[in-house]
Subunit: 334 residues, 2 copies
Amino acid sequence: MTEARMPIKVVQYGLGPIGCAAARAVLARERLQLVGAVDIDPQKIGRDAGEVLGVGRSLGIEVAATLQAALQQSPADVVLHTTGSFLDAVSGQLTEILALGLDVVSSTEELSYPWADHDQYAQQIDRAAVQAGRTVLGTGVNPGFLMDTLPLSLTAICLSARRIAVTRVIDASKRRGPFQTKIGAGMTVEQFNAEVRGGRMGHIGLRESAAMLCNSFGHSVDHYRETIEPVTAANDIERGSAPVRRGDVIGIHQTLSAVCAGTEFVTLTFHAALDAENEADRIEIDGEPPLQIDLRGTNGDIATVAILLNAIERVMAAPPGLKTMRDLPPVYCW
Amino acid sequence: MTEARMPIKVVQYGLGPIGCAAARAVLARERLQLVGAVDIDPQKIGRDAGEVLGVGRSLGIEVAATLQAALQQSPADVVLHTTGSFLDAVSGQLTEILALGLDVVSSTEELSYPWADHDQYAQQIDRAAVQAGRTVLGTGVNPGFLMDTLPLSLTAICLSARRIAVTRVIDASKRRGPFQTKIGAGMTVEQFNAEVRGGRMGHIGLRESAAMLCNSFGHSVDHYRETIEPVTAANDIERGSAPVRRGDVIGIHQTLSAVCAGTEFVTLTFHAALDAENEADRIEIDGEPPLQIDLRGTNGDIATVAILLNAIERVMAAPPGLKTMRDLPPVYCW
């Protein structure tokens, strides 16, 4: 991967916070060239991408309403796709990208391991990719790495694995506002619980991570056990224009266990809250030998953007089809 | 990898401590079938493999002096090769295995990343593999995983990596006698230093790990800085039939730095001693974001045996040629 080559032409599809950060990272990486930007937001369409990205200069790239329109400005090799979490919303976009002859790296959480819960979408996207001779991957930090690919990779040095537990603790105070809002910070407990009941609250991707782990070890999942609880403030918290009062919500504590043949084979814990202490990820493999791994520094949008970019070369080199991180050689920074 | 299939027929080539442990692990794994055993030791040739492995039963497999003789007892799919650390000693064995039509997973340290220091052997083995339509991999815990594949894989979530440091601390008291001897335990400092001067002391593979990391990030290595020091006993140590006296050697402290474009890009530290405290591995990536990873439990021959076995399916599924762990999808326990 070190030879001098033509830069890889990238279209950024989706200009939300993560998409904009990814596009800026593309601009900063020598081997990549940003050639297009797509978003459905009328406030962004038609403007210069440099302005929308806030890079302080014109890029000569007009934000397009459709990928087809973007490709009229320039041919491209690969799309970074960051428009949504759910396959029912984005599968049409993915098959469109493939049909237009481009490889895709997507942040869609449900795409990280779609074969368990979304087999029909998986088959449809895989067929579209094979027909187009292109490759599509769903990845990210979580799902995509910390709770699936990394624990799986760590079992390389185990003769057996009886149980896998991953706990992720995020100090949301260090994260951007939309992330804080997403985990319920500032809500009352009643509001939080109403969001949970409405299916609008909770980290997406725990099922995908658990399913990848279980299936890799030859286990099918009998059922999942899932809990979502609010984390509440022990004291009032100053927080700029939106202070949080004692007893109100500062974050989320979510667990998912996958039960295989009557026992919990995988247990995933996602804890994200304002001022959370002991920010870290812990992976415990109850195996032969037993392993414990503690990671620090994995927090933040930088990591998400990084894995999207870093996956590009592996995706372009892979055979056509819908791939997961389990199918590709190790993605690394280049 | 979860479908029911015919068991994979394995020949164990090399019946030292690691080879015997690997063969016993093959016997214990459902998807694998031990069909042959090869060693050059006249004390082992002709005996039943079950006796040599100490499994308390006859296996109906006669230890053969050559692979060809072993294959006359049974056809095979793959060879687990554990005969030595150095390519000048084992490259003939590897090309022989390939020519006989078998895939190979080898513990040869210099094979883990042979392209930097042993390019001629690498080319020759790669050609032999491609001609035979077979695949060969060198792997292990270190080199093969902890100081190369794993740190590389962790940079998946980094936008950049300026420097990588890995420190491995092993409590040799928990390891088998030959390992303790290998790290100098029980020697005088003079004996240890004479072994170092004679090139007979030191962990093999640090260069391979460092070269894989540097080359993956597009850096060529200007030069290596290497130190090997004895760790000495602060007090007399009881140790069965071979007590260690205060001031004598209880282990080794070895470092290797790879200097690229004037700066140390990779620094690897290998510390193995009797009663070493804080046994763990630490990976530090000075990058964007900075990461720190601490692993516990990676010690021991189990881990080495595990990665050899776990790599088998990935090697058999890979295209022909000489591969490194960087080329294969994540190896995991199955």
